[in-house]
Point group: C2
Chain length 95, copies 2
């Protein structure tokens, strides 16, 4: 199979998984509603995406870098909001 087809399949994969993740991510960021998000699982996911990004860099694969960079930016914002909400809820329940 030619190198071109390989690249197209990579971009197709990157587009599909990124665009399947983005609408819900944008919705969560806009609403700041992180109910139903497990802080442990989401921390694992975000760290995992960071390591995929690093892996893409190490094996010099631009498609893997690009796909995981976009996901990492949005996942980090969501994780940050989830942490803030978690601390807020702890404070409210603590009073």
């Amino acid at each position: 199979m030619s190198h071109n087809i390989q690249v197209y399949i990579g971009y197709l994969a990157a587009c599909l998984t990124t665009f399947s993740f983005l609408p819900q991510a944008i919705k969560t960021i806009k609403s700041k509603c992180t109910k139903g998000i497990s802080i442990v699982m989401y921390s694992m996911f975000t760290t995992g995406i960071f390591f995929w990004l690093l892996y893409g860099y190490l094996i010099n694969d631009f498609i893997i870098i690009l796909a995981n960079l976009i996901t990492f930016i949005f996942a980090s914002i969501i994780l940050f909001i989830t942490f803030v909400n978690y601390i807020k809820n702890k404070r409210v329940n603590g009073i």
Copy 2:
């Protein structure tokens, strides 16, 4: 950076994203409750994972193949349950 560290980072990435996905996936498969899952987004996600799997095969990267194969199996089962529930709901609403 040595090839070994590269491989470790790849496996770490694969473990983190796979294990962050699995508990919710297993819960969904056991409960068969697919409420809140968008059939369009999940179809995109599952197809995307399939193309990542294919991409891993084409660039000959075992870590990418392994991570996406596990996710693809679980995502396919969830997508199938989501489709069945969707058809069931359509039938119930159609009567």
